[in-house]
Structures are given as structure tokens and as C-alpha cells.
Subunit: 260 residues, 2 copies
């Protein structure tokens, strides 16, 4: 059954309850990349929930409760936020980057799906942010300037066969590719295998960029080729961008033309 | 040859010349989704360049020159901005969404590549913004919550065979898919053919969402299936999101689990 919604309707519905849960994208790190919408939600929340390092980016406010959890506890953190919202609190789940890209928004809806039926009627707000691959692309030039894919290499999310199939399909069809969580603790060999597979499919001369901690004082950018790429060029704070067949350097920049 | 750069180095280099060109992402429409970084650049620019409707979103400032151009004149607009920067002006190219996603950043680097050698040393800044598919995903739930592709259906950018190959590859490998510029004037039949191809590959029950003018007063969201989707549900202001095999509804939301 088709679902129709307009912005006014969504806002009117939102006004019917006092509690809410917002999943807010804090962007890649620089406060200058946090949207005013997220800043306003941070000011209006009664409770902040999140992974410690993300909460550490947010100043303390009198009367605002903070709930730090481990990075692996996404589902229980989401359930906690929903429970708070159901009790009338204004709960903000802090997410790095954009909450809809390999971050907290999907975890929240998994919690809604598995939770009490009335959670589906809660006032839920997903507040977009600047996701890591687009912050990285901006600093590198425009490597994602034409068709591209985003793939999460994180551990335990899916079988290696699925990752290999997606990498192969993306490279073969001429997409640029952004890899999130390239090197995870539980699957340290995954990124090496991904590089091998991409080399075989795209050739060793293909451009690859490593963008670490973009927009923070620890930012580091490295542009090289698949032949020269080494797994240790990436860590947990790195997003990796592999160019399309058309991606090329101009001066110090890397870009993909619009007609590729 | 690998290229290394750090943020401090890039900023120090930037200080060596007085002119600059910034390609600034204005986001999907709502001023609350414009980053402070972009707001500061708008205040510091001597010249604003862009497609009329984008410039119309920006308040006039005394002493700031405005250069409106047609939407089709991206390359000449980029060349104009580079010429201004080379003469010491601070030129801001207004881009909707994120400049690196089917927008002005790639056009800028095409102009740099084809222009005088000294354009490569100009102070060029790409300022990220909230791109349409991520604003749309946030309003819909989390349909891009796991691996996804972004494909531009715009006219004249590439042969239909390339589009068909990418749509097929993306659907077959289980990606969610975001389509930009689904219905273009020069290729009105393209989106019908894309829907047919996706139906054949993914089945008629697959979720599809039409998100028009997200975050503006004209916002309209529609969620349905490939079987029920009709080309006229999209126009030039619509981004289309096709779910992965795991994408599903929970209450009024559409989301893709993290393990898909």
C-alpha cells in the first residue's frame, strides 16, 4: 500500500506527543560541519546517548543526562533511547557522520521492529549529517563525482562472499567505490583480500585514496594506486575511496568526470 | 607517486594567495541543513556564482557580486569562478546538495584540467553539504542503512547501455540504489526503462521510494513497490531510492538492516 506523507503532516503528527528520539549526525568531526538542525536538537534534548568518543565531542549542559555506551552496543542503546522517548523524554542518539550511512539509524529501526507495538508511533527524527566518504571526497577533490557505491567491510555484518560479490560487481560496472570500516578487529584480513580482488578486477593502476579522520587535527590523506596500496594504510578511522576507470589526478586533486 | 597532505599543510598553502574558489553545498533546501562552514564561506565571498534557483536561496549582501547562469552552463560557470579567483577574488560556486555528488565539484576540476596551468595552484575548497539521497533517506527512515549505490540517470552523461549495466549489477549484487535526476528532458524514456529493468532483476515486490524536494515546503514522500511504481511519480526534483532485498517497512518507516 503506498504511503503518502508531507512535511507539514509529519510535523503535525510530531506535535501530538512530548517525547521524541532523534538520531543526529554529528558529521566527521569538525564542529563547522554540524548542521544547525542538529545543534538545535542537541540543545533541546533531555538525554544524550552514544559511544563515548562521540559524546565527548558535545559540551555538557546543566540538566541534560548523558548515557555513554560501548561501540558494540548499538541495539541496546537504541532500545534505551526509545524507552526514554516513550516515557516523555527527548532522547538524542549521537551518531558520527550521517546516521543513515552505516550508523545508528538502521539500529534504531531494528529496535523499533523488535520492540513494543507503540514504539512505532513515537516521534522519531533522523537528522542527516556529513558522512565520512563525502567529507573525504571534498578534501580529495571530487572522486565520487559520478556513479559510485558505498560498501561496509565491518566485521560480522555479512559473509565474505557477499562482500566479494559486491566489490566485483561494483568494479566491473565502472563505479567508484567508498569502503567504510576497512580494517576491523574481528576481520583483519578482509581489507587485504578486498585489495587483491580490486587489483584483479580493476588493474593495478587504478587510483585509491585513504582518508583518515577527515576534518579533525589528525586528518591524513594519501592518494596512490592499487598496486602501491598496502592494508596498513587504513585503520579504523579511515575511509577508502577507489576510483572509477575515469578517475584521474589534476594537480593535487583527484576527480571523476561527470560523463564517466 | 603517492601524495601526502595534512590539514595544516593545506591551510598553510591556502594562505599564500588571497583569491579562492569555493564549491559550496547548500544542502537540499532547508537553511537548517546548511553547515556553518558554508555559511561562513558565503559571508566571505566577493562573488557568488550559480544556477538562478540556487542563488535565490541566498540573501543579497552589499558589495557582493552575483552571477546567475543557466543550469546547463556548468563548465563555463566553473571557468568564470576560476578566472575570478586567479584575479584575487573570493568566488563561491553555489551547488545544491553536496557538491561532490552529481554536482559542481567535478565540473570545477574539469575546468581546471582544461585551463591554464596556474589554475592548478589556486586555493580551491570543496565544502560538503547534505546530498539529496541522504536527506531523503533520513525522512524515509534508513533505506540506505547498508551497502548502496548512487546512479545518475541524467541525460547526455553516458550511453544507456552503461546505465543498464550499472542498474543490473547493483540490483543483482543486493545493493540499495539511489537514482539522481530520474526524469530528464532529453531522455524522458530512461526512467521507464530503468523501472522495467529493475522489476525484471529485483522482482515487483521490491520497495521503492520517491522523495521530492525534501526539506522544502514542497516535500512529498511516496513509498510503494516496483510493481506499483509509475514513471510520473518522479520529476526533476525527485530522488528515487530502490531498496535492497532486505529493505522493509516498520510502521511508517522504510529501513535496511545493518546485516543485509
Amino acid at each position: 500500500m503506498p504511503l503518502f506523507r508531507d512535511r507539514a503532516g509529519a510535523r503535525a503528527g510530531a506535535a501530538a506527543v512530548s517525547g521524541w528520539v532523534a538520531v543526529a549526525g554529528l558529521g566527521p568531526g569538525d564542529p563547522e560541519l554540524v548542521t544547525p538542525e542538529v545543534t538545535a536538537a542537541l540543545a533541546g534534548a533531555t538525554d544524550l546517548l552514544g559511544y563515548g568518543p562521540y559524546l565527548a565531542r558535545l559540551p555538557a549542559r546543566p540538566g541534560q543526562d548523558r548515557h555513554e555506551t560501548d561501540n558494540r552496543e548499538e541495539l541496546s542503546r537504541a532500545e534505551h533511547a526509545l524507552t526514554l522517548a516513550a516515557s516523555g523524554r527527548r532522547a538524542l542518539l549521537a551518531s558520527s557522520g550521517d546516521p543513515g550511512v552505516f550508523a545508528m539509524a538502521a539500529a534504531l529501526f531494528e529496535a523499533v521492529e523488535g520492540g513494543p507495538a507503540d514504539w512505532r508511533d513515537l516521534d522519531i527524527r533522523i537528522l542527516p549529517g556529513i558522512t565520512a566518504m563525502l567529507a573525504a571526497a571534498a578534501r580529495l577533490g571530487a572522486p565520487l563525482g559520478h556513479d559510485f557505491c558505498a560498501i561496509n567491510l565491518s566485521d560480522n555484518l555479512k559473509p565474505w562472499d557477499v562482500i566479494a560479490e559486491r566489490l566485483t560487481a561494483a568494479a566491473r560496472a565502472g563505479f567508484a567505490i567508498a569502503l567504510y570500516n576497512p580494517r576491523s578487529r574481528a576481520r583483519p584480513e578482509g581489507f587485504s583480500r578486498a585489495l587483491e580482488l580490486l587489483r584483479a578486477e580493476a588493474g593495478g593502476a587504478r587510483s585509491i585514496a585513504f582518508a583518515r579522520a577527515v576534518s579533525t587535527p589528525e586528518e591524513r590523506l594519501e592518494v596512490t594506486t592499487l598496486d602501491a596500496a598496502r592494508p596498513e594504510m587504513a585503520d579504523m578511522r579511515t575511509v577508502v575511496i577507489i576510483g572509477s576507470p575515469e578517475t584521474r589526478a589534476v594537480g593535487r586533486w583527484l576527480y571523476t568526470p561527470r560523463r564517466a
